[in-house]
């Protein structure tokens, strides 16, 4: 193959392809690094280097142009992205991830839209536009039409739009701009969703079949946007981890589809890896919550079965014992082994630093303290770990559920801070309970339990927690942060 004299090897297609291969190899290596706490920082940076290489390779492309516009876009993106990432609080991480995911989905559907407008009458069936390499495309007359470009591009547009709007709603709910409780259209919900999906698909098929109408394309984007809103609005705030993870997978898949439409291997590989990982994560989370993904999508928690279970558990005859901060402090001070079970309530109250102070105080008294972390404690898997790590809790004090459960039997005091459903023994003992079968932290095995909680209101599963009626459980009502600080203050007096 002879190259024009002007082009250096830097712009050779094969060289640029090699850069892409290096880039996605670095992505895979980076993700491997993320599998352990000691290699994770490096893993993330390796992936970032891969991204830089992929961007440089794209900019070296001989057909690249419009430099002014590229600079404008990159500068705006950097100016928004860096401060947002720098200043976000660790407790606000889930909504930040939702927002970053949303803009990714937004980029996908905008690119698909621009591609549609650029192709004009060559879009869809009967098109003669052929991509021959990552950077060049040529137009041949006659021959088979690569309809697939339109198919993947339309797929990217629909999924990207759903992801963009869905993520923004998720952000709004987590940031409490929108009400966290489910907003539904009632029984019509699933029909509305189905109708929107069918309309978006119909418009997409029409476009692939060769309808060169921008009206149809915009209509498709609007249907997908409404679908994104309609799917996420009915989902309660506590179910958001699953949704964000699912939308993350969606954006990945739509990026991979964009890669096929643009014939770009880096996009295909990176997008697909994210699609696969997001799917696994979504599944893991749904399993840990004893829920199926379809039932989450079909409408907020609290469908038929749950209400039934709630009324059954409501008949609980047991009594609840409440305690005071000073009693709790004495109990903790004379324990040998204390396990702290943090939950959503700790995150909401931003009590992680207070909890760390309490732990330090207990450790001074030779009390052995560890933390038991349920896989879905907080708002995202691992969310508790990030919060506790922020408060300087050593990584090896954090025990995962499998590791923590056998230890409860030799634990003197379990201190449950703002966790509810993940400690409910009904998941093991009551087959009629809606959460029956969900893996839980077996807190009730320990010698005594102190629960810090604002009120007796049920958790997001909407059911009573049998643990609170257990004779060895004492409730300390109050805001997690102030309750923990009070205990710490009382400890100093002992």
């Amino acid at each position: 193959m002879s190259l024009p004299l002007a082009s250096s090897f830097l712009q050779d297609e094969s060289f640029l392809d090699v850069l892409y291969i290096i880039a996605f190899a670095l992505f895979i290596q980076g993700l491997r690094g993320l599998s352990g706490p000691t290699t994770a920082v490096r893993g993330n940076r390796i992936a970032a280097v891969g991204m830089a290489i992929a961007v440089i390779a794209t900019l070296l492309n001989p057909s690249e142009g419009n430099w002014g516009l590229i600079v404008i876009g990159v500068v705006i993106g950097t100016a928004v992205g860096i401060p947002a990432a720098r200043n976000v609080k660790m407790t606000a991480m889930p909504q930040m991830v939702a927002l970053f995911n949303g803009v990714g989905g937004g980029a996908v559907f905008l690119i698909a839209w621009a591609e549609f407008r650029r192709h004009g009458s060559t879009y869809g069936a009967h098109t003669v536009h052929v991509s021959t390499g990552p950077f060049s495309s040529l137009t041949i007359t006659g021959g088979a039409a690569p309809t697939y470009i339109a198919i993947f591009s339309v797929f990217a547009a629909i999924v990207g739009s759903v992801s963009f709007w869905g993520s923004n709603i998720a952000f709004g709910k987590l940031q409490e701009i929108l009400p966290g409780r489910p907003i539904t259209f009632g029984r019509a919900q699933q029909w509305v969703n189905l109708l929107l999906l069918v309309l978006a698909l119909a418009a997409g098929i029409d476009l692939v079949a060769g309808a060169h109408s921008e009206l149809v394309f915009v209509g498709m984007l609007i249907c997908a946007a409404l679908l994104g809103n309609a799917v996420v609005l009915p989902i309660g705030g506590a179910d958001m981890p699953v949704v964000i993870s699912m939308l993350n997978a969606f954006t990945g898949l739509s990026a991979a589809a964009t890669g096929i439409a643009l014939n770009n291997t880096a996009l295909i590989v990176a997008g697909m890896i994210v699609g696969a990982s997001g799917t696994i994560l979504t599944n893991l989370m749904a399993v840990a919550m004893n829920r199926s993904i379809p039932s989450i999508i079909a409408g907020g928690f609290g469908g038929g079965g749950v209400t039934e279970g709630a009324s059954g558990a409501g008949e609980h005859a047991g009594t609840v014992r409440s305690t005071t901060a000073s009693d709790a402090a004495i109990q903790l001070a004379y324990a040998n082994r204390v396990v702290i079970v943090p939950g959503y309530g700790m995150a909401v109250a931003q009590a992680q630093h207070a909890v760390r102070e309490l732990t330090k105080e207990l450790e001074k008294r030779q009390v052995e303290v560890s933390y038991a972390i349920h896989p879905v404690a907080g708002r995202m898997p691992g969310h508790m770990n990030v919060l506790l790590a922020e408060a300087d809790v050593p990584y090896d004090q954090l025990k995962e559920m499998e590791e923590a459960n056998p230890e409860f039997q030799r634990t003197d005091v379990s201190l449950v801070i703002g966790a509810n459903d993940v400690t409910n023994p009904a998941a093991k003992n009551t087959p009629s309970s809606p959460i029956y079968g969900m893996p839980i932290l077996e807190v009730s095995d320990s010698h005594s339990v102190i629960v810090i909680k604002r009120s007796m209101n049920p958790g997001f599963a909407g059911i009573e927690n049998e643990l609170y009626y257990d004779p060895k459980t004492e409730m300390l009502f109050g805001d997690a942060k102030s309750a923990v600080s009070e205990i710490t203050a009382e400890l100093a007096n002992i």
């Binding site: 992936a47 993106g77 890896i273 995202m380 691992g382």
Partner: protein, 108 residues
């Protein structure tokens, strides 16, 4: 012929990438799932390449240029913000000298 081979090659890459993603990621412990979600989130910011590629091609009118600049800005936010935020989270998992002094022997 050429068309078929471009598509099928890309589909093969797609399928293999899916399996690699599955294998690599199913090994990540629960505790690192939030940073992982954030990290993969940053990686799909690679769509910024799509914006960079398309804006360089011919046939973009003024409206296209506007939406592509927005797409590039969005993609950049996704990439830059995503990697930075993941880095911040992961930095917190590193053992700190003041608190982790007596645990060092175990981890290293």
């Amino acid at each position: 012929m050429i068309i078929a081979s471009v598509l099928t090659t890309n589909l093969a890459i797609l399928v293999l990438a899916g399996f690699i993603g599955f294998v690599v990621i199913s090994k990540v412990p629960n505790t690192l799932h939030t940073p992982l979600m954030s990290g993969t989130n940053a990686i799909h910011g690679i769509v910024v390449l799509g914006g960079l590629l398309v804006i360089g091609l011919s046939g973009n009118d003024a409206f296209n240029k506007i939406i592509l600049v927005i797409a590039i800005a969005f993609g950049t936010i996704n990439v830059v913000g995503g990697f930075l935020v993941t880095d911040r989270m992961l930095e917190m998992f590193k053992s700190k000298p003041k608190s982790g002094g007596d645990d060092e022997g175990k981890s290293s």
